[in-house]
Protein backbone atom coordinates (compact mmCIF):
# COMPACT_ATOMS: atom_id res chain seq x y z
CA UNK A 1 0.00 0.00 0.00
CA UNK A 2 2.85 2.34 0.85
CA UNK A 3 4.43 1.77 -2.54
CA UNK A 4 1.11 2.46 -4.26
CA UNK A 5 0.98 5.68 -2.29
CA UNK A 6 4.53 6.65 -3.26
CA UNK A 7 3.85 5.90 -6.90
CA UNK A 8 0.86 8.23 -6.79
CA UNK A 9 2.96 10.84 -5.10
CA UNK A 10 5.48 10.77 -7.95
CA UNK A 11 2.66 11.27 -10.42
CA UNK A 12 1.42 14.19 -8.40
CA UNK A 13 4.80 15.86 -8.59
CA UNK A 14 4.70 19.22 -10.21
CA UNK A 15 3.02 21.22 -7.51
CA UNK A 16 4.81 21.94 -4.25
CA UNK A 17 1.79 22.11 -1.98
CA UNK A 18 3.82 22.91 1.13
CA UNK A 19 5.17 25.96 -0.64
CA UNK A 20 1.67 26.99 -1.70
CA UNK A 21 0.42 26.41 1.84
CA UNK A 22 3.14 28.65 3.26
CA UNK A 23 2.63 31.41 0.72
CA UNK A 24 1.34 34.66 2.16
CA UNK A 25 -1.71 34.73 -0.14
CA UNK A 26 -2.83 31.25 0.97
CA UNK A 27 -2.17 32.04 4.61
CA UNK A 28 -4.29 35.18 4.21
CA UNK A 29 -7.15 33.18 2.64
CA UNK A 30 -7.05 30.67 5.51
CA UNK A 31 -6.97 33.44 8.11
CA UNK A 32 -9.92 35.25 6.53
CA UNK A 33 -11.97 32.08 6.13
CA UNK A 34 -11.36 31.15 9.76
CA UNK A 35 -12.11 34.66 11.01
CA UNK A 36 -15.40 34.56 9.12
CA UNK A 37 -16.63 30.98 9.47
CA UNK A 38 -15.70 30.16 13.07
CA UNK A 39 -17.70 32.97 14.78
CA UNK A 40 -20.64 32.36 12.42
CA UNK A 41 -20.67 28.62 13.22
CA UNK A 42 -20.43 29.21 16.96
CA UNK A 43 -23.20 31.80 16.72
CA UNK A 44 -25.72 29.62 14.91
CA UNK A 45 -25.04 26.54 17.04
CA UNK A 46 -25.47 28.56 20.25
CA UNK A 47 -28.60 30.27 18.89
CA UNK A 48 -30.01 26.88 17.92
CA UNK A 49 -29.30 25.04 21.17
CA UNK A 50 -30.57 27.91 23.31
CA UNK A 51 -34.09 27.06 22.08
CA UNK A 52 -34.34 23.48 23.46
CA UNK A 53 -32.38 24.49 26.57
CA UNK A 54 -34.76 27.36 27.34
CA UNK A 55 -37.89 25.30 26.59
CA UNK A 56 -36.61 22.40 28.69
CA UNK A 57 -35.45 24.29 31.76
CA UNK A 58 -37.49 27.51 31.82
CA UNK A 59 -41.02 28.60 31.02
CA UNK A 60 -40.57 32.30 30.33
CA UNK A 61 -40.75 31.80 26.53
CA UNK A 62 -44.40 30.90 27.09
CA UNK A 63 -45.31 34.52 27.80
CA UNK A 64 -47.46 36.01 25.02
CA UNK A 65 -45.78 38.22 22.41
CA UNK A 66 -48.56 39.07 19.97
CA UNK A 67 -52.05 37.95 20.95
CA UNK A 68 -51.92 34.19 21.39
CA UNK A 69 -48.51 33.90 19.72
CA UNK A 70 -45.96 33.41 22.50
CA UNK A 71 -42.23 34.18 22.43
CA UNK A 72 -41.32 30.54 21.83
CA UNK A 73 -42.90 30.79 18.37
CA UNK A 74 -41.15 34.09 17.66
CA UNK A 75 -37.85 32.42 18.65
CA UNK A 76 -38.65 29.41 16.46
CA UNK A 77 -39.38 31.65 13.44
CA UNK A 78 -36.25 33.67 14.09
CA UNK A 79 -34.29 30.42 13.59
CA UNK A 80 -35.61 30.31 10.02
CA UNK A 81 -34.77 33.97 9.44
CA UNK A 82 -31.30 33.38 10.88
CA UNK A 83 -30.67 30.46 8.50
CA UNK A 84 -31.62 32.53 5.45
CA UNK A 85 -29.71 35.63 6.59
CA UNK A 86 -26.52 33.71 7.47
CA UNK A 87 -26.54 31.73 4.24
CA UNK A 88 -26.98 34.94 2.21
CA UNK A 89 -24.14 36.64 4.11
CA UNK A 90 -21.94 33.58 3.58
CA UNK A 91 -22.54 33.52 -0.19
CA UNK A 92 -21.63 37.22 -0.47
CA UNK A 93 -18.43 36.66 1.52
CA UNK A 94 -17.57 33.43 -0.30
CA UNK A 95 -17.40 35.32 -3.60
CA UNK A 96 -14.34 37.14 -2.27
CA UNK A 97 -12.82 33.81 -1.12
CA UNK A 98 -13.35 32.52 -4.67
CA UNK A 99 -11.39 35.44 -6.09
CA UNK A 100 -8.56 34.85 -3.63
CA UNK A 101 -8.52 31.14 -4.45
CA UNK A 102 -8.36 31.81 -8.19
CA UNK A 103 -5.49 34.19 -7.63
CA UNK A 104 -3.63 31.59 -5.57
CA UNK A 105 -4.07 28.97 -8.28
CA UNK A 106 -2.91 31.46 -10.92
CA UNK A 107 0.09 32.83 -9.10
CA UNK A 108 1.23 30.00 -6.84
CA UNK A 109 0.39 26.88 -8.80
CA UNK A 110 0.16 27.67 -12.49
CA UNK A 111 3.12 30.04 -12.64
CA UNK A 112 5.81 29.42 -10.10
CA UNK A 113 4.49 26.59 -7.92
CA UNK A 114 5.66 24.00 -10.41
CA UNK A 115 8.99 22.39 -9.88
CA UNK A 116 11.14 22.14 -12.94
CA UNK A 117 11.08 18.46 -13.83
Amino acid sequence: MESHYDKQRTFRQGVDYVKVENSSSFQRLMYERKKFILPLTIFFLVFYFILPILTSYTTFLNTPAFGDISWVWIFAFSQFIMTWVLSTIYVKKAASFDEQAEQIIREQIDDKGRDAI
Binding site: M1, H4, Y5, Q8, R12, G14, V15, Y17, V18, V20, E21, F26, L29, M30, R33, I37, L40, T41, F44, L45, Y48, F49, L51, P52, I53, T55, S56, Y57, L61, N62, F66, G67, D68, I69, S70, V72, W73, A76, F77, Q79, F80, M82, T83, W84, L86, S87, T88, Y90, V91, A94, D98, A101, E102, I104, I105, I109
Partner: protein, 510 residues
Protein backbone atom coordinates in the same frame (compact mmCIF):
# COMPACT_ATOMS: atom_id res chain seq x y z
CA UNK B 1 -59.70 3.53 -4.66
CA UNK B 2 -61.52 6.03 -6.80
CA UNK B 3 -60.70 6.94 -10.39
CA UNK B 4 -58.99 10.30 -9.73
CA UNK B 5 -56.48 8.70 -7.36
CA UNK B 6 -55.69 5.97 -9.86
CA UNK B 7 -55.25 8.42 -12.76
CA UNK B 8 -52.95 10.76 -10.78
CA UNK B 9 -51.02 7.82 -9.37
CA UNK B 10 -50.49 6.37 -12.85
CA UNK B 11 -49.52 9.73 -14.37
CA UNK B 12 -46.79 10.13 -11.76
CA UNK B 13 -45.52 6.62 -12.48
CA UNK B 14 -45.60 7.35 -16.22
CA UNK B 15 -43.83 10.71 -15.84
CA UNK B 16 -41.00 9.15 -13.85
CA UNK B 17 -40.65 6.35 -16.39
CA UNK B 18 -40.39 8.89 -19.24
CA UNK B 19 -37.67 10.71 -17.25
CA UNK B 20 -35.87 7.39 -16.73
CA UNK B 21 -36.08 6.56 -20.45
CA UNK B 22 -34.37 9.80 -21.50
CA UNK B 23 -31.89 9.59 -18.63
CA UNK B 24 -30.95 6.03 -19.58
CA UNK B 25 -29.96 7.20 -23.07
CA UNK B 26 -27.62 9.78 -21.53
CA UNK B 27 -26.07 7.42 -18.98
CA UNK B 28 -22.91 6.30 -20.79
CA UNK B 29 -20.10 6.29 -18.23
CA UNK B 30 -19.65 5.42 -14.56
CA UNK B 31 -19.44 9.15 -13.86
CA UNK B 32 -22.88 9.63 -15.45
CA UNK B 33 -24.24 6.77 -13.38
CA UNK B 34 -23.00 7.97 -9.96
CA UNK B 35 -23.01 11.74 -10.37
CA UNK B 36 -24.88 12.64 -13.58
CA UNK B 37 -21.45 13.51 -14.99
CA UNK B 38 -21.17 16.36 -12.48
CA UNK B 39 -23.27 18.39 -14.89
CA UNK B 40 -26.20 19.67 -12.80
CA UNK B 41 -26.66 23.43 -12.40
CA UNK B 42 -26.96 25.04 -8.98
CA UNK B 43 -30.72 25.36 -8.92
CA UNK B 44 -31.27 21.88 -10.39
CA UNK B 45 -29.05 20.34 -7.75
CA UNK B 46 -30.63 22.51 -5.05
CA UNK B 47 -34.10 21.24 -5.93
CA UNK B 48 -32.73 17.69 -6.14
CA UNK B 49 -31.25 18.09 -2.62
CA UNK B 50 -34.67 19.24 -1.41
CA UNK B 51 -36.28 16.29 -3.23
CA UNK B 52 -33.77 13.91 -1.68
CA UNK B 53 -34.16 15.33 1.82
CA UNK B 54 -37.89 15.99 2.20
CA UNK B 55 -38.94 12.42 2.83
CA UNK B 56 -42.36 11.08 3.63
CA UNK B 57 -41.24 11.34 7.26
CA UNK B 58 -40.87 15.10 6.78
CA UNK B 59 -44.02 15.63 4.77
CA UNK B 60 -46.45 13.34 6.55
CA UNK B 61 -44.59 12.76 9.83
CA UNK B 62 -43.98 16.38 10.82
CA UNK B 63 -47.43 17.58 9.74
CA UNK B 64 -48.85 14.79 11.91
CA UNK B 65 -46.49 15.53 14.81
CA UNK B 66 -47.49 19.22 14.82
CA UNK B 67 -51.19 18.31 14.55
CA UNK B 68 -50.88 15.98 17.56
CA UNK B 69 -48.20 17.61 19.71
CA UNK B 70 -48.25 21.28 18.74
CA UNK B 71 -44.97 23.11 19.25
CA UNK B 72 -42.96 19.96 19.99
CA UNK B 73 -43.65 18.69 16.47
CA UNK B 74 -42.10 21.87 15.12
CA UNK B 75 -38.72 21.03 16.75
CA UNK B 76 -38.03 18.67 13.85
CA UNK B 77 -38.66 21.40 11.28
CA UNK B 78 -36.15 23.71 12.96
CA UNK B 79 -33.41 21.10 13.37
CA UNK B 80 -33.76 19.71 9.85
CA UNK B 81 -33.36 23.21 8.35
CA UNK B 82 -30.51 24.59 10.48
CA UNK B 83 -28.58 21.43 9.61
CA UNK B 84 -28.00 23.08 6.22
CA UNK B 85 -25.89 25.80 7.83
CA UNK B 86 -23.49 23.06 8.97
CA UNK B 87 -23.55 21.66 5.43
CA UNK B 88 -23.01 25.08 3.81
CA UNK B 89 -20.34 26.50 6.10
CA UNK B 90 -18.27 23.42 6.90
CA UNK B 91 -18.92 20.45 4.63
CA UNK B 92 -20.23 21.10 1.09
CA UNK B 93 -17.30 22.91 -0.54
CA UNK B 94 -14.35 20.87 0.78
CA UNK B 95 -16.33 17.72 0.00
CA UNK B 96 -16.87 18.84 -3.61
CA UNK B 97 -13.22 19.86 -3.93
CA UNK B 98 -11.78 16.61 -2.57
CA UNK B 99 -14.25 13.89 -3.49
CA UNK B 100 -15.32 12.08 -6.60
CA UNK B 101 -18.24 9.69 -6.01
CA UNK B 102 -18.36 8.81 -2.31
CA UNK B 103 -17.49 9.94 1.20
CA UNK B 104 -14.64 7.40 1.20
CA UNK B 105 -13.13 9.14 -1.86
CA UNK B 106 -12.98 12.35 0.09
CA UNK B 107 -11.28 10.81 3.13
CA UNK B 108 -8.94 8.95 0.79
CA UNK B 109 -7.80 12.25 -0.69
CA UNK B 110 -5.80 12.45 2.54
CA UNK B 111 -5.13 8.82 3.48
CA UNK B 112 -4.56 6.06 0.94
CA UNK B 113 -5.65 3.18 3.13
CA UNK B 114 -8.03 0.44 2.12
CA UNK B 115 -9.04 -0.02 5.75
CA UNK B 116 -10.43 3.51 5.82
CA UNK B 117 -12.32 3.00 2.61
CA UNK B 118 -13.75 -0.23 3.99
CA UNK B 119 -14.89 1.35 7.25
CA UNK B 120 -16.38 4.37 5.44
CA UNK B 121 -18.28 2.03 3.12
CA UNK B 122 -19.50 0.06 6.15
CA UNK B 123 -20.88 3.15 7.87
CA UNK B 124 -22.47 4.34 4.60
CA UNK B 125 -24.17 1.00 4.07
CA UNK B 126 -25.40 0.87 7.69
CA UNK B 127 -26.95 4.33 7.48
CA UNK B 128 -28.49 3.64 4.07
CA UNK B 129 -30.08 0.40 5.31
CA UNK B 130 -31.67 1.97 8.40
CA UNK B 131 -32.92 4.94 6.42
CA UNK B 132 -34.12 2.77 3.57
CA UNK B 133 -36.07 0.35 5.78
CA UNK B 134 -37.69 3.36 7.44
CA UNK B 135 -38.74 4.77 4.07
CA UNK B 136 -39.98 1.45 2.68
CA UNK B 137 -41.92 0.52 5.82
CA UNK B 138 -43.44 4.01 5.86
CA UNK B 139 -44.19 3.78 2.15
CA UNK B 140 -45.85 0.41 2.52
CA UNK B 141 -48.05 1.58 5.37
CA UNK B 142 -48.94 4.80 3.57
CA UNK B 143 -49.81 3.27 0.21
CA UNK B 144 -51.77 0.60 2.02
CA UNK B 145 -53.82 3.36 3.65
CA UNK B 146 -54.16 5.54 0.56
CA UNK B 147 -55.02 2.92 -1.99
CA UNK B 148 -56.30 0.07 0.15
CA UNK B 149 -53.81 -2.51 -1.16
CA UNK B 150 -51.84 -5.03 0.90
CA UNK B 151 -48.63 -3.95 2.63
CA UNK B 152 -46.42 -6.40 0.73
CA UNK B 153 -47.80 -5.32 -2.66
CA UNK B 154 -47.24 -1.67 -1.71
CA UNK B 155 -43.60 -2.34 -0.73
CA UNK B 156 -43.06 -4.27 -3.95
CA UNK B 157 -44.47 -1.47 -6.13
CA UNK B 158 -42.22 1.16 -4.54
CA UNK B 159 -39.28 -1.25 -4.57
CA UNK B 160 -39.61 -2.11 -8.26
CA UNK B 161 -40.03 1.54 -9.26
CA UNK B 162 -36.89 2.65 -7.39
CA UNK B 163 -34.91 -0.24 -8.87
CA UNK B 164 -35.95 0.76 -12.41
CA UNK B 165 -34.93 4.42 -11.97
CA UNK B 166 -31.52 3.63 -10.53
CA UNK B 167 -30.71 0.59 -12.64
CA UNK B 168 -31.44 2.23 -16.00
CA UNK B 169 -31.23 5.94 -15.40
CA UNK B 170 -28.64 6.17 -12.61
CA UNK B 171 -28.07 9.58 -11.06
CA UNK B 172 -29.54 11.48 -14.03
CA UNK B 173 -32.93 9.78 -13.64
CA UNK B 174 -32.75 9.93 -9.85
CA UNK B 175 -31.97 13.66 -9.91
CA UNK B 176 -34.83 14.49 -12.26
CA UNK B 177 -37.29 12.33 -10.32
CA UNK B 178 -36.17 14.27 -7.21
CA UNK B 179 -36.51 17.66 -8.94
CA UNK B 180 -40.00 16.79 -10.25
CA UNK B 181 -41.03 15.56 -6.84
CA UNK B 182 -39.69 18.69 -5.11
CA UNK B 183 -41.77 20.91 -7.43
CA UNK B 184 -44.92 18.78 -6.98
CA UNK B 185 -44.45 18.63 -3.21
CA UNK B 186 -43.96 22.39 -2.87
CA UNK B 187 -47.03 23.00 -5.05
CA UNK B 188 -49.10 20.68 -2.85
CA UNK B 189 -47.83 22.37 0.34
CA UNK B 190 -48.59 25.86 -0.99
CA UNK B 191 -52.11 24.89 -2.10
CA UNK B 192 -53.02 23.32 1.26
CA UNK B 193 -51.46 26.19 3.23
CA UNK B 194 -53.34 28.73 1.11
CA UNK B 195 -56.64 26.95 1.76
CA UNK B 196 -55.90 26.71 5.49
CA UNK B 197 -55.05 30.41 5.67
CA UNK B 198 -58.18 31.22 3.69
CA UNK B 199 -60.22 29.60 6.46
CA UNK B 200 -58.51 31.90 8.98
CA UNK B 201 -58.99 35.01 6.77
CA UNK B 202 -55.21 35.16 6.23
CA UNK B 203 -54.73 36.20 9.83
CA UNK B 204 -51.96 34.21 11.53
CA UNK B 205 -52.95 35.53 14.93
CA UNK B 206 -56.52 34.24 14.43
CA UNK B 207 -55.05 30.86 13.49
CA UNK B 208 -53.15 30.63 16.79
CA UNK B 209 -56.26 31.71 18.74
CA UNK B 210 -58.48 29.15 17.00
CA UNK B 211 -56.00 26.30 17.37
CA UNK B 212 -55.66 27.06 21.08
CA UNK B 213 -59.22 25.89 21.66
CA UNK B 214 -59.43 23.36 18.81
CA UNK B 215 -57.57 20.46 20.47
CA UNK B 216 -57.98 18.56 23.70
CA UNK B 217 -54.71 20.04 24.97
CA UNK B 218 -56.05 23.59 25.23
CA UNK B 219 -53.41 26.28 25.65
CA UNK B 220 -50.70 23.63 26.20
CA UNK B 221 -50.86 22.82 22.49
CA UNK B 222 -49.00 26.06 21.74
CA UNK B 223 -46.35 25.45 24.41
CA UNK B 224 -43.29 23.21 24.28
CA UNK B 225 -43.28 20.14 26.52
CA UNK B 226 -46.31 18.23 25.25
CA UNK B 227 -44.23 15.39 23.80
CA UNK B 228 -40.63 15.99 24.89
CA UNK B 229 -40.62 16.16 28.65
CA UNK B 230 -37.07 14.97 29.27
CA UNK B 231 -34.62 17.89 28.78
CA UNK B 232 -31.59 15.72 27.91
CA UNK B 233 -33.66 13.61 25.52
CA UNK B 234 -34.81 16.75 23.70
CA UNK B 235 -31.29 18.16 23.43
CA UNK B 236 -29.95 14.80 22.27
CA UNK B 237 -32.56 14.64 19.50
CA UNK B 238 -31.72 18.22 18.45
CA UNK B 239 -28.02 17.27 18.20
CA UNK B 240 -28.82 14.33 15.92
CA UNK B 241 -31.05 16.49 13.71
CA UNK B 242 -28.62 19.37 13.24
CA UNK B 243 -25.41 17.35 12.84
CA UNK B 244 -26.79 14.24 11.13
CA UNK B 245 -27.66 15.81 7.78
CA UNK B 246 -24.03 16.57 6.93
CA UNK B 247 -23.18 12.89 7.37
CA UNK B 248 -26.06 11.33 5.42
CA UNK B 249 -24.59 9.47 2.41
CA UNK B 250 -27.39 10.31 -0.02
CA UNK B 251 -27.10 14.02 0.80
CA UNK B 252 -23.27 14.00 0.62
CA UNK B 253 -23.48 12.30 -2.77
CA UNK B 254 -25.50 15.22 -4.11
CA UNK B 255 -22.41 17.44 -3.88
CA UNK B 256 -20.57 15.38 -6.47
CA UNK B 257 -23.24 16.04 -9.11
CA UNK B 258 -22.13 19.64 -9.69
CA UNK B 259 -18.99 20.85 -11.41
CA UNK B 260 -17.33 22.88 -8.63
CA UNK B 261 -17.52 24.20 -5.09
CA UNK B 262 -19.19 27.41 -6.22
CA UNK B 263 -22.08 25.46 -7.79
CA UNK B 264 -22.23 23.22 -4.69
CA UNK B 265 -22.63 26.38 -2.62
CA UNK B 266 -25.36 27.84 -4.80
CA UNK B 267 -27.21 24.52 -4.74
CA UNK B 268 -27.20 24.55 -0.92
CA UNK B 269 -28.72 28.05 -1.05
CA UNK B 270 -31.55 26.91 -3.36
CA UNK B 271 -32.05 23.89 -1.09
CA UNK B 272 -32.07 26.03 2.07
CA UNK B 273 -34.78 28.35 0.73
CA UNK B 274 -36.91 25.50 -0.60
CA UNK B 275 -36.54 23.39 2.53
CA UNK B 276 -37.04 26.41 4.82
CA UNK B 277 -40.30 27.46 3.11
CA UNK B 278 -41.42 23.82 3.22
CA UNK B 279 -40.86 23.55 6.98
CA UNK B 280 -42.65 26.86 7.65
CA UNK B 281 -45.60 25.46 5.70
CA UNK B 282 -45.61 22.28 7.83
CA UNK B 283 -46.96 24.55 10.55
CA UNK B 284 -50.04 25.48 8.50
CA UNK B 285 -50.60 21.83 7.65
CA UNK B 286 -50.23 20.75 11.26
CA UNK B 287 -52.45 23.51 12.65
CA UNK B 288 -54.95 23.03 9.84
CA UNK B 289 -55.17 19.31 10.55
CA UNK B 290 -55.55 19.94 14.30
CA UNK B 291 -58.35 22.44 13.68
CA UNK B 292 -60.27 20.92 10.75
CA UNK B 293 -59.59 17.17 10.91
CA UNK B 294 -59.35 16.78 14.67
CA UNK B 295 -57.16 14.63 16.88
CA UNK B 296 -59.62 11.74 17.03
CA UNK B 297 -59.89 11.37 13.24
CA UNK B 298 -56.12 11.70 12.76
CA UNK B 299 -55.42 9.01 15.36
CA UNK B 300 -58.16 6.76 14.01
CA UNK B 301 -56.58 6.76 10.54
CA UNK B 302 -53.05 6.12 11.81
CA UNK B 303 -51.71 6.11 15.40
CA UNK B 304 -48.52 7.87 14.32
CA UNK B 305 -50.42 10.82 12.85
CA UNK B 306 -49.07 10.13 9.36
CA UNK B 307 -52.46 10.66 7.68
CA UNK B 308 -52.95 14.20 9.03
CA UNK B 309 -51.86 15.94 5.80
CA UNK B 310 -53.87 13.79 3.32
CA UNK B 311 -56.96 13.97 5.57
CA UNK B 312 -56.62 17.75 5.79
CA UNK B 313 -56.41 17.92 1.99
CA UNK B 314 -59.63 15.96 1.77
CA UNK B 315 -61.45 18.17 4.28
CA UNK B 316 -60.46 21.51 2.74
CA UNK B 317 -59.98 20.57 -0.92
CA UNK B 318 -62.21 17.59 -1.57
CA UNK B 319 -61.42 14.35 -3.34
CA UNK B 320 -59.26 15.89 -6.05
CA UNK B 321 -56.86 17.53 -3.61
CA UNK B 322 -56.79 14.32 -1.55
CA UNK B 323 -55.86 12.37 -4.69
CA UNK B 324 -53.21 14.93 -5.63
CA UNK B 325 -51.62 14.94 -2.16
CA UNK B 326 -51.64 11.13 -2.06
CA UNK B 327 -49.91 11.00 -5.43
CA UNK B 328 -47.37 13.58 -4.25
CA UNK B 329 -46.70 11.50 -1.13
CA UNK B 330 -46.06 8.52 -3.40
CA UNK B 331 -43.66 10.54 -5.60
CA UNK B 332 -41.92 11.75 -2.42
CA UNK B 333 -41.20 8.22 -1.30
CA UNK B 334 -39.94 7.15 -4.74
CA UNK B 335 -37.50 10.06 -5.02
CA UNK B 336 -35.98 9.46 -1.59
CA UNK B 337 -35.55 5.69 -1.91
CA UNK B 338 -33.96 6.05 -5.37
CA UNK B 339 -31.32 8.40 -3.88
CA UNK B 340 -30.70 5.91 -1.09
CA UNK B 341 -30.24 2.96 -3.45
CA UNK B 342 -27.71 4.95 -5.44
CA UNK B 343 -25.63 5.94 -2.40
CA UNK B 344 -25.70 2.37 -1.07
CA UNK B 345 -24.70 1.02 -4.50
CA UNK B 346 -21.79 3.47 -4.77
CA UNK B 347 -20.37 2.26 -1.45
CA UNK B 348 -20.57 -1.36 -2.61
CA UNK B 349 -19.52 -1.02 -6.23
CA UNK B 350 -17.14 1.94 -6.17
CA UNK B 351 -15.53 1.58 -2.73
CA UNK B 352 -15.61 -2.13 -1.97
CA UNK B 353 -15.40 -3.60 -5.49
CA UNK B 354 -13.72 -0.91 -7.61
CA UNK B 355 -11.18 0.50 -5.18
CA UNK B 356 -10.53 -2.32 -2.67
CA UNK B 357 -11.00 -5.52 -4.67
CA UNK B 358 -9.88 -4.19 -8.06
CA UNK B 359 -7.43 -1.61 -6.63
CA UNK B 360 -8.92 1.13 -8.80
CA UNK B 361 -7.98 -0.72 -11.96
CA UNK B 362 -11.42 -1.86 -13.14
CA UNK B 363 -12.41 -0.69 -16.62
CA UNK B 364 -15.28 1.73 -16.97
CA UNK B 365 -17.45 -1.06 -18.35
CA UNK B 366 -16.69 -3.32 -15.36
CA UNK B 367 -17.39 -0.46 -12.94
CA UNK B 368 -20.70 0.32 -14.58
CA UNK B 369 -21.74 -3.32 -14.49
CA UNK B 370 -20.71 -3.57 -10.83
CA UNK B 371 -22.68 -0.41 -10.03
CA UNK B 372 -25.82 -1.87 -11.62
CA UNK B 373 -25.45 -5.22 -9.86
CA UNK B 374 -24.89 -3.40 -6.58
CA UNK B 375 -27.97 -1.23 -7.13
CA UNK B 376 -30.02 -4.34 -7.84
CA UNK B 377 -28.69 -6.13 -4.73
CA UNK B 378 -29.25 -3.14 -2.45
CA UNK B 379 -32.81 -2.86 -3.76
CA UNK B 380 -33.66 -6.54 -3.39
CA UNK B 381 -32.07 -6.78 0.06
CA UNK B 382 -33.88 -3.72 1.41
CA UNK B 383 -37.22 -4.83 -0.06
CA UNK B 384 -36.80 -8.18 1.72
CA UNK B 385 -35.89 -6.48 5.01
CA UNK B 386 -38.83 -4.10 4.67
CA UNK B 387 -41.24 -7.00 4.15
CA UNK B 388 -40.23 -8.41 7.54
CA UNK B 389 -39.93 -5.07 9.32
CA UNK B 390 -43.54 -3.95 9.02
CA UNK B 391 -43.99 -3.46 12.75
CA UNK B 392 -40.86 -1.36 13.37
CA UNK B 393 -41.35 2.27 14.37
CA UNK B 394 -40.41 4.44 11.38
CA UNK B 395 -39.57 7.63 13.27
CA UNK B 396 -37.16 5.69 15.46
CA UNK B 397 -35.33 4.24 12.42
CA UNK B 398 -34.98 7.69 10.82
CA UNK B 399 -33.65 9.36 13.97
CA UNK B 400 -31.26 6.44 14.38
CA UNK B 401 -29.93 6.98 10.84
CA UNK B 402 -29.36 10.67 11.62
CA UNK B 403 -27.63 9.72 14.87
CA UNK B 404 -25.22 7.27 13.17
CA UNK B 405 -24.50 9.83 10.44
CA UNK B 406 -23.69 12.51 13.03
CA UNK B 407 -21.57 10.16 15.18
CA UNK B 408 -19.70 8.12 12.56
CA UNK B 409 -19.38 10.39 9.50
CA UNK B 410 -19.31 14.01 10.63
CA UNK B 411 -16.25 13.77 12.96
CA UNK B 412 -14.11 12.14 10.27
CA UNK B 413 -15.20 14.70 7.63
CA UNK B 414 -14.37 17.66 9.86
CA UNK B 415 -11.06 16.19 11.06
CA UNK B 416 -9.97 15.30 7.51
CA UNK B 417 -10.42 18.86 6.30
CA UNK B 418 -9.57 20.93 9.35
CA UNK B 419 -7.12 19.04 11.61
CA UNK B 420 -3.46 18.93 10.65
CA UNK B 421 -2.38 16.21 13.10
CA UNK B 422 -5.21 13.79 12.07
CA UNK B 423 -4.02 10.40 10.73
CA UNK B 424 -5.10 7.00 9.41
CA UNK B 425 -5.59 5.43 12.85
CA UNK B 426 -7.66 8.44 13.93
CA UNK B 427 -9.88 8.19 10.86
CA UNK B 428 -10.63 4.54 11.57
CA UNK B 429 -11.22 4.97 15.33
CA UNK B 430 -13.43 8.03 14.72
CA UNK B 431 -15.74 6.13 12.38
CA UNK B 432 -15.79 2.89 14.39
CA UNK B 433 -16.32 4.64 17.75
CA UNK B 434 -19.18 6.73 16.38
CA UNK B 435 -20.81 3.80 14.61
CA UNK B 436 -20.41 1.35 17.50
CA UNK B 437 -21.50 3.74 20.25
CA UNK B 438 -24.61 4.81 18.31
CA UNK B 439 -25.62 1.21 17.57
CA UNK B 440 -24.86 -0.14 21.06
CA UNK B 441 -26.56 2.71 22.92
CA UNK B 442 -29.68 2.40 20.76
CA UNK B 443 -29.83 -1.35 21.28
CA UNK B 444 -30.09 -0.81 25.08
CA UNK B 445 -32.37 2.25 24.81
CA UNK B 446 -36.07 2.62 25.61
CA UNK B 447 -36.82 2.25 21.85
CA UNK B 448 -35.65 -1.36 22.03
CA UNK B 449 -36.40 -2.30 25.66
CA UNK B 450 -39.60 -1.29 27.41
CA UNK B 451 -41.07 -2.70 30.61
CA UNK B 452 -44.53 -2.58 28.99
CA UNK B 453 -45.21 -5.16 26.33
CA UNK B 454 -45.86 -3.83 22.82
CA UNK B 455 -44.12 -0.47 23.36
CA UNK B 456 -40.72 -1.62 22.09
CA UNK B 457 -39.05 -4.59 20.41
CA UNK B 458 -38.31 -6.43 23.66
CA UNK B 459 -39.78 -6.43 27.14
CA UNK B 460 -37.28 -5.38 29.79
CA UNK B 461 -35.71 -2.37 31.43
CA UNK B 462 -33.61 -0.12 29.17
CA UNK B 463 -30.01 0.26 30.38
CA UNK B 464 -29.65 3.63 28.67
CA UNK B 465 -32.26 6.35 29.29
CA UNK B 466 -32.32 8.27 25.97
CA UNK B 467 -34.21 7.22 22.83
CA UNK B 468 -31.69 9.02 20.68
CA UNK B 469 -28.10 8.65 21.93
CA UNK B 470 -26.55 11.54 19.93
CA UNK B 471 -25.74 13.47 23.13
CA UNK B 472 -23.25 10.70 24.05
CA UNK B 473 -22.38 9.04 20.72
CA UNK B 474 -21.42 12.20 18.78
CA UNK B 475 -18.84 13.29 21.39
CA UNK B 476 -17.61 9.66 21.46
CA UNK B 477 -17.07 9.78 17.69
CA UNK B 478 -14.98 12.95 18.03
CA UNK B 479 -13.16 11.58 21.08
CA UNK B 480 -12.43 8.27 19.32
CA UNK B 481 -10.85 10.15 16.43
CA UNK B 482 -8.78 12.29 18.80
CA UNK B 483 -7.46 9.40 20.91
CA UNK B 484 -6.74 7.24 17.86
CA UNK B 485 -4.77 10.11 16.33
CA UNK B 486 -2.57 10.93 19.31
CA UNK B 487 -1.88 7.24 20.05
CA UNK B 488 -0.34 6.79 16.60
CA UNK B 489 2.87 8.59 15.65
CA UNK B 490 2.06 8.54 11.96
CA UNK B 491 1.62 12.00 10.55
CA UNK B 492 2.02 13.40 7.04
CA UNK B 493 2.21 17.20 6.92
CA UNK B 494 2.99 17.28 3.18
CA UNK B 495 -0.15 15.40 2.34
CA UNK B 496 -2.21 17.65 4.58
CA UNK B 497 -0.78 20.69 2.80
CA UNK B 498 -2.05 19.22 -0.46
CA UNK B 499 -5.52 18.47 0.98
CA UNK B 500 -5.74 21.90 2.57
CA UNK B 501 -4.78 23.70 -0.64
CA UNK B 502 -7.17 21.62 -2.74
CA UNK B 503 -10.07 21.84 -0.27
CA UNK B 504 -9.79 25.61 -0.04
CA UNK B 505 -8.98 26.56 -3.61
CA UNK B 506 -10.71 23.87 -5.64
CA UNK B 507 -7.47 23.12 -7.51
CA UNK B 508 -7.33 19.67 -9.11
CA UNK B 509 -4.22 18.11 -10.56
CA UNK B 510 -5.78 15.20 -12.36
Amino acid sequence: MDATVVILFLSIVLLTLVITYFAAKRTQTTGDFYTAGGGLTGWQNGLAIAGDYLSAASFLGIAGAIALHGFDGFFYSIGFLIAYLVVLLLVAEPLRNLGKYTLADMINARFDAKKIRGVAALSTITIVLFYMIAQLVGAGALIQLLFGIDYWIAVLIVGIMMTIYVLFGGMIATSWVQITKAVLLMAGMVIISFLVLLKFNFNISTMFTEVKSATGHGADFLKPGLKYTDPLGTISLMIALVLGTSGLPHILMRFFTVKDAKTARSSVITATWTIGVFYILTLFLGFGAAAFVGERNILAANPGGNMAAPLLAEVIGGDILFAFISAVAFATILAVVAGLVLSGASAFAHDLYGQILKRGEATDKQQMLAARYAALSVSVFSILLALFAQTLNVAFLVSLAFCIAASANLPVILYTVYWKRFNTTGAITAMLCGLASALILVSISPSVFSPNEGEALFVGNPLFPLDNPALISVPLGFLGGYIGTILSKEHDATRYAEVKVKANTGYRDS
